[in-house]
């Protein structure tokens, strides 16, 4: 199991910075950079490039290897692997490393990397051993060994001349408590806040496919709870839910005590300091009692996950003719209390499409009623109600955007297009993305959050928010 290193490429495919490839020749990293750039050049869409690229050996002395790569903003992170490595290890590590960079640098871009190359180098050194073993990746522990740029700035200005004498025998920041002195790898000791607070965001995403009869073919709600803990000392939290039966397939942060969760569905944990993802889950709208090894449950014939109602409805009438076609799409909200926001509907009109003429309008229904919670003021008069359309000629995608769809209102888009080829071949699917604030599909409710702390006694401020988004493929 070994990751050979990390290479970060800029937008043009040129390397910005890379970890030292110590157990291989210098040509090795170049080989991988070339392989990725070639593959990207060949592909029509960059997303169509396999995420694990096979890299043939440059000469017979070297074995072949593979390159795992992932795009982040204007950068591309490569992780060459040789030997029989778990590519997921590479991706998991890349993700972790990118998260660390984000925490250290704020935004991750070619400019910030160049500005802080020494920090990035130190991070390479501390997070990935040259033999390919990931080392320290908990940012709590990392901050002890690699001082984040902002903190270092502050230290330099505050400690002045004393700085030099202390740094060699410990650390300016952590001299009192040495690094890695904490028994919990994810939390450092001696954290102190004036205002103790802990926040939870419950974020759910719906992914669904609806067929042309309007029947939901497949739907899946993936949720996660993100937390931001600013608590002093070593707090012990226990969080329970009033309706834990909606949670399924839970994946928990390592800080959560698994046996407590399995026994009484209680999240008991000592949180890391700062932001972290407490748990990932699937919303099962049709909870089954989980089978136990002693009782054999009957195999259910159909999928155990029943389908969730989609928050809107689409009626699409598309007529295809020779060298073109016309379409009339209506989107109606099915929600009566929540507004759908930032709706983006994409229709791929197929190769050679062009000559788009479109008209967007707000249909009947819903009246001027706007979600009581929302303070937005909408102009409800016809086409100027904020909805718009655009066409990406290169990808032949027609995009229809509606900033806000108030409860039970309906919207429509009609128009026509022409194609260069005789038979138009648009995709038979409309891809719709949307957000809903202050709402979760699962209606997961936090029952109680207890924060206990042996040494200090404080009452932290606690907050829970929910938000949802969705990505629906509606076929016609």
């Amino acid at each position: 199991m070994a990751l050979d290193g990390i290479i970060i490429l800029d937008h043009y495919g040129r390397p910005i910075i890379q970890s030292g490839f110590r157990s291989s020749t210098t040509a090795y990293s170049l080989l991988h950079i070339d392989a990725v750039n070639n593959a990207l050049q060949k592909a029509e869409r960059s997303a169509d490039v396999d995420s694990v690229i096979y890299v043939p050996p440059s000469n017979t002395a070297n074995g072949s290897s593979a390159c795992c790569h992932v795009e982040v903003g204007d950068l591309r992170f490569l992780c060459p692997v040789s030997g029989d490595v778990d590519p997921l290890l590479a991706f998991a590590f890349l993700q972790t490393f990118i998260d660390i960079l984000r925490e250290y640098l704020g935004t991750v871009s070619a400019a910030t990397l160049r500005d802080n190359f020494d920090i990035v180098y130190q991070l390479f050194e501390e997070t990935l051993d040259s033999g390919g073993h990931p080392l320290t990746t908990y940012s709590n522990a990392l901050r002890d060994i690699v001082i984040p740029p902002s903190l270092l700035n502050k230290l330099l200005s505050v400690t002045g001349t004393n700085f030099n004498s202390t740094i060699n025998s410990g650390f300016g920041a952590g001299a009192a408590v040495g690094p890695f002195s904490s028994p919990l790898p994810w939390r450092k000791t001696g954290v102190r806040y004036n205002n103790n607070e802990i926040y939870f965001d419950i974020i759910e995403q719906l992914k669904a496919i609806v067929n042309k009869n309007g029947t939901v073919v497949s739907s899946h709600v993936h949720g996660k709870i993100e937390a931001n803990a600013k608590l002093s000392g070593t707090p012990d939290c226990s969080l329970n839910f009033t309706n834990p039966q909606v949670l399924d397939d839970c994946a928990l942060h390592p800080c959560v005590r698994l046996h407590r969760w399995n026994r009484d569905k209680m999240l008991s944990f000592v949180p890391p300091d700062g932001r972290f993802t407490l748990m990932d889950y699937t919303f099962s709208s049709n909870p089954l009692t989980s089978p136990t090894p002693t009782q054999q449950s009957l195999p259910s014939v159909m999928s155990s996950r029943s389908n969730l109602a989609i928050p809107f409805m689409i009626k699409a009438i598309v007529k295809l003719e020779d060298s073109g076609g016309s379409f009339d799409v209506t989107l109606t909200s099915r929600y009566s209390t929540h507004a759908l926001e930032n709706i983006v509907a994409d229709i791929n009109l197929g190769a050679g499409a062009g000559g788009i003429r479109c008209n967007v309008s707000r249909g009947s229904g819903g009246g001027g009623f706007i979600n009581a919670g929302g303070s937005r003021n909408l102009d409800t008069s016809g086409a100027s109600s904020g909805a718009s359309w655009s066409f990406d000629a290169q990808r032949t995608v027609l995009r229809w955007e509606i900033p806000i769809v108030s409860p039970s209102s309906s919207w429509s888009l009609h128009g026509s297009f022409s194609t260069g080829t005789r038979a138009p071949r648009p995709s038979h699917a409309i891809r719709v993305r949307f957000d809903i604030s202050s709402h979760t599909y699962s209606a997961l409710k936090v029952g109680q959050l207890k924060v206990t702390n042996a040494k200090e006694n404080y009452k932290p401020y606690k907050g829970v928010r929910g938000r949802s988004s969705g990505e629906v493929e509606w076929r016609w």
Partner: protein
């Protein structure tokens, strides 16, 4: 003062001489070492840009005495980059190394040994050996965990020396350390050593394995991965050992890290080979499904790895994800490699109960834009018809609808699969032949054309104008590809056998036989022409019986990979091997192969298909032999994996030093006991295809290229029921 965060300006190419002068100047009047720091940063930035800064070696080394950690780190970075290339000057640094190894600050102690381990030069290795021994027993866990990894480096620099120095034993001791991270790193180092061809074999006994499991909750995710992975080095001696261990690690399926999940699944799949409790196995299979589904909500990169692994897992353990076929429905926007992987899984998961849903999806895909995907979707409809009898009617109807669209490539794919459907259900669907004949002109690809010709010949007796149609097709006989020519030859012979009285048939067969024997360049075609000619000349009746002999109906049940090969591949779950669906030692140099090891606890079903592993020594030069995916190749060729030797020896593995090179044979008795359930597996599982350097070159097949599940005679394997695969 150089402020961090504004260092882009250092990315200017500098001259060696300038840097040297600046370093020299910095030796005096350098308040707070600011000047030195600035120069060093410039130098490091130049290394990043690929400039050779090695001439500065003696100058930079001078800075090592500076009591500032930041400077020390940069000098060490420089040393790591150029130390190897300066064997004559490296001795200058040794005193500094030694001093830092005894520093008060554990970070510096660790930094020093880590840096030394990166420089595989005898003087440094020598100095490292002594200090490493202390570091492994350092009171600070950070130093111990760093030292553990350094042992692996020392080992790769000089294996025998590291063994003589007793470092392997020291590492073993560290597995019992009180700090979980130290334990995990010791395991990582031992694994790395064990994976080397010349390394000390690393295996675990029950006590150590349990001790490692206890360290899991406090480890970082990477540590957990090392520990879980090392469980594959433990061979359970009793069923209960395997079962208890599985119960202990099953909670890790709830981990947030995808690599941990997949490693856990790998360990569980491995342990299941040593279990006998049916209910527990069933339970574990059920538990593995949801985390795999969770992986699919990650980015496309992770999805891809997950899908490839799911494809392997469900072939071996069909109960996993049995009811979740909908999760794999393709989105319009999925990257093509994700779509193809999903398509293959959908086909594998299709059963009578969900065939309707799957078919509806496949029909949807057949109208998509992406040509390659559409073809695969159409083929999948045909395969579905062959696999699930209950859905065959609907599939045929779907294919006929697709033929109606007259889109040429759709029609061609449909014709190809319909040919196989005819063979699977003889006498059932021949009524649709007229529909096919209408589209004869649309066929321009050899495979589709050959398929249609086969249909025309095979059913010439019920196609009234078969002679005319074949005659038309023969106009361009000499320009056709060999595939089509061969099909035409056979078809006209069949036509003649059916309708020997008809003049046109006589004329046609004569014409084609003459062409093939006199004008064809291809020896196969010519030989076949002669063969038919002689058969027809000697005894037309017998020739007819031979040409139109009854064919065994076909099935795609056999398109699963061989059981034994699957068991072996699953030991590589989550690794490159499982992505390429090949054993890694066949395409990665120096990769150690893995094989299930026999033990009293190995359940009979797994033992029956056990593939022993030879520690392959790959040739140091020349092409690397790559094994193709199991099902594609003909069965018996020279094989990298030796076929099961006739089992006679009763090997008591517990008594032997288990080397992976050992061929462990199943005992005759065990095989005999289970003969009735396992007779399907009596063939050598894996055969080679001559050197294909690029494992990707075969990926198409692995994705369910049609070849991969070339329908085969039904008779040979009919007893692949799911129950059998529970073990």
């Amino acid at each position: 003062m150089s402020q961090p965060g504004q260092d882009a300006k250092f990315f200017q190419r500098g001259k060696i001489e300038e840097f040297r002068a600046e370093l020299l100047a910095a030796e005096t009047k350098d308040k707070k070492f600011v000047k030195r720091k600035t120069v060093l940063k410039k130098i490091v930035a130049n290394i990043t840009m690929g400039m050779d800064m090695s001439p500065l070696f003696p100058d930079v080394v001078q800075c090592l005495g500076t009591p500032l950690l930041e400077i020390k780190k940069m000098v060490y970075l420089f040393l790591v980059s150029y130390g190897r290339s300066k064997p004559d000057q490296i001795h200058l640094v040794i005193p500094n190394f030694l001093q830092d190894c005894n520093d008060r600050n554990p970070l510096i102690r660790a930094l020093a040994i880590r840096t030394m381990s990166y420089i595989p030069i005898p003087v440094v290795t020598e100095a490292l050996s002594d200090n490493l021994r202390h570091a492994l027993k350092d009171r600070d866990p950070y130093v111990r965990k760093t030292a553990a990894i350094c042992v692996a480096k020392l080992y790769s620099a000089d294996p025998r020396k590291a063994e003589r120095g007793g470092f392997v034993e020291l590492l073993r001791d560290l597995m019992l350390d009180s700090n979980a991270t130290v334990v995990a790193n010791a395991v990582a180092a031992l694994s790395e050593i064990g994976d080397r061809q010349d390394g000390v074999i690393f295996k675990l006994n029950l006590a150590t394995a349990n001790k490692l499991l206890a360290a899991i909750p406090e480890s970082s995710e990477w540590g957990q991965i090392y520990i879980l992975d090392s469980l594959l080095r433990y061979v359970p001696e009793r069923h209960t050992d395997a079962e208890m261990m599985a119960e202990r690690i099953i909670v890790q399926l709830q981990h947030g890290n995808s690599a941990v999940i997949l490693t856990t699944i790998k360990a569980l799949l491995y342990l299941m080979n040593y279990m006998e409790n049916r209910q527990l196995i069933d339970y574990i299979c059920k538990k593995m499904g949801p985390p795999l589904v969770t992986l699919l909500s990650s980015g496309p990169e992770v999805q891809y790895v997950a899908l490839r692994n799911i494809l392997l897992i469900i072939q071996r353990r069909p109960t996993v994800l049995k009811n979740d076929v909908r999760i794999f429905f393709c989105k319009y926007n999925d990257p093509i490699y994700i779509k193809l992987a999903k398509l293959e899984i959908m086909y594998r998961l299709a059963r009578a109960e969900n065939a309707k849903e799957v078919l509806a999806e496949l029909q949807e895909y057949a109208s998509e834009v992406d040509l390659d995907f559409v073809r695969k979707a159409v083929r999948s409809i045909g395969r579905l018809a062959i696999k699930v009898e209950a859905a065959a009617d609907d599939c045929i109807q779907a294919l006929l609808d697709l033929i109606e669209t007259k889109v040429t490539y759709v029609v061609q794919e449909a014709v190809i699969v319909i040919k196989d459907i005819f063979r699977r259900y003889p006498g059932k669907y021949e009524g649709i032949i007229p529909n096919l004949c209408e589209n004869l002109d649309a066929l321009d690809e050899p495979e589709a054309k050959a398929s249609m010709v086969w249909i025309l010949g095979q059913y010439a007796n019920i196609i009234d104008n078969a002679d005319e149609l074949l005659d038309d097709l023969c106009y361009t006989f000499l320009e056709e590809s060999t595939e089509v020519q061969l099909a035409l030859l056979t078809a006209v012979v069949k036509l003649f056998v059916y309708k020997s009285k008809v003049d046109k048939a006589k004329e046609l067969v004569h014409k084609v036989l003459k062409w093939t024997t006199e004008e064809a360049d291809n020896p196969d075609l010519r030989d076949r022409g002669f063969m038919y000619w002689r058969m027809l000349a000697i005894n037309p009746t017998v020739a007819g019986e031979i040409v139109l002999s009854e064919k065994p109906p076909i099935t795609t049940d056999s398109d699963r990979m061989d059981r034994g090969a699957l068991d072996q591949l699953l030991l590589h779950t989550g690794t490159l091997g499982s992505i390429y669906h090949k054993n890694p030692e066949t395409f990665i140099r120096n990769a150690a192969g893995k094989a299930l090891k026999d033990s009293p606890a190995l359940n009979a079903h797994s033992r029956a298909v056990l593939i022993p592993l030879a520690r392959t020594q790959l040739p140091s030069m020349g092409p690397i032999v790559v094994a193709g995916p199991g099902p594609t190749e003909p069965q018996a060729q020279s094989s990298p994996v030796a076929p099961l030797p006739p089992a006679k020896t009763d090997v008591d593995t517990s008594a032997l030093p288990t080397q992976s090179s050992q061929l462990i044979s199943p005992t005759q008795d065990d095989v005999a006991n289970d003969q009735d359930e396992t007779e399907e597996d009596d063939e050598p599982p894996h055969s080679t295809q001559a050197s294909k350097l690029d494992p990707y070159s075969n990926l198409d097949n692995a994705f369910g290229g049609y070849l991969a599940d070339e329908p085969r005679p039904m008779a040979s394997r009919q007893h692949d029921d799911d129950d059998d695969l529970l073990f």
